[in-house]
Amino acid sequence: MSLYAKRRRRNAMATSLAWAAALFGLSWLFLILGALLYEGLRGLSPAVFTQMTPPPGSRGGLMNAIGGSLSMTAIGVAIGAPLGMLAGTYMAEYGRKTKLATVVRFVNDILLSAPSIVIGLFVYTIIVAPMGHFSGIAGAVALSLIVIPVVLRTTEDMLLLVPGSLREAAAALGAPRAVIISRVSYRAAKAGIVTGVLLAVARVSGETAPLLFTALNNQFWSSDLNAPMASLPVVIFQFALSPYKDWQQLAWTGALLITAAVLTLSIIARALSAGRRKS
């Protein structure tokens, strides 16, 4: 009986530790979100969206950083998403078990989790150094290199989920391969592919490290992609590490904006893929 009691006690202890672990994990989410709301909301005003990043000691906003982030993310996704989708299409529809597909799959997995600062170094050596200056386009290219593996992976996975019988039915009607892919496979996998792109956008919009020495930063509004460009994450980095109170406040507000955007995107992506699973 004492052995039984001992085992029960040990089990109770282990299960309560598991409960504690879950509570511990969840509490970080609430601590971080709570701090963001508390510190970030204080600085939220229309000026954040309509004024440029200020010199220390004067009032200002984050307009140029928001604009820079939006345009570099848009260009990065515009370059990376089609490339990733096409490569993913090759892997799922043509390559499957060929050597090329196997190697690309491995390489893509490595790219997917490669440290993003290494991507920044790469873009620095191939674009910034030869051109001789930092630029928005270099930042966008760096972001696109992060988009590609995410989109490739999800596109491949989603296309592989499309039942082969659908393709066979289309082939029996005499449809050529390209038509089967574009009219049947893509249509069936649409929600999943969109989810992948949304996840990539979410991932990229919070990235800081690859922008530090590709796009650098810019105090002013710039629509010139050939010049240094401000972005929210880099501004947060600079302002948070500065000793000035109003810069730190802007950093918190920027952090709140990014987190809100990123979490919204990933929740939408999740809802999309959940809807697909049910149907």
Partner: protein
Amino acid sequence: MTEIAIETRVTRVADRARALSAIAVADRLFHLTTRTAAIVVLIILGGVIVSLIHGSLPALRAFGLGFLTSQAWNPVTDNFGALPAIYGTVVTSLIAMLIAVPVGLGIATFLTELCPHPLRRPISVAIELLAGIPSIIYGIWGLFVLAPFVQAHVQPGLISLFKDIPVLSTLFAGPPYGIGVLTAGVILAVMVLPFIASISRDVFATVPPVLKEAATGIGCTTSEMMRHVVLPYTRVGVIGGVMLALGRALGETMAVTFVIGNAHKVSPSLLAPGTTISATIANEFTEAVGDVYTSALIGLGLILFIITFVVLAIARYMLMRIEQKSA
């Protein structure tokens, strides 16, 4: 049949042949485009490796293998060594793993065995959202919220608690700065926690229910079933997940840069400021003047890439094995 009818039939056949060949061309073109895209992805990774090696050549030529073991970091005399950065990277990641592995496994156990059903999905989503928060947010939060808290409430306690125990007293020595190697490790732990938790949860789900039922059938408690059936069965996959998280922790930049303190030295104390490879690059790259300085930083990037590459390759291999097992 009149000649005109024959002629129209001939042209119709020709039209159809032309249309078919146009389709065939489009078909080949599409195939080719997707194949090219796949090859471009290959070239990109090749390019990353080549450019890193090329960029770090000047430093490697100047310092040789001594680059790996030297503690020097002096931009004025152009003398650089990677040891403090490598040390910091490894130690912060180890601290992160020490915290995140048990907690992550606990969360996975909770999600698969203990959690009431209606709560399972929301709780997993909440844990996974933790992975979606950008790393710069962890950085700013760590600097302004966590570090002051640790400085005021945790570190003084640790210092006085361990001051008479031989090894621990050197590990937890010195003034409480708040920022430092330990705080960076804690932040990293929170960042990789969702990876470990969700991968472990997924591999726990690959255990055939029959095995678990058999264990319960002979009277095992939940904890005994986890320890003697589920964990041995999923060991390979769990290790794969842990390695994947380790890969993340090794390469993480922004969160660490904020709280590590950026000191180029190897200190025995975990409370002292240190640096990591990625933090050094992030902090100094735009200020680096001179070829050797830049090249030393790119060399650090190369080392980081090689370390994470090895870790991730092991992770992929392990996860592949458990996938084959469950298939």
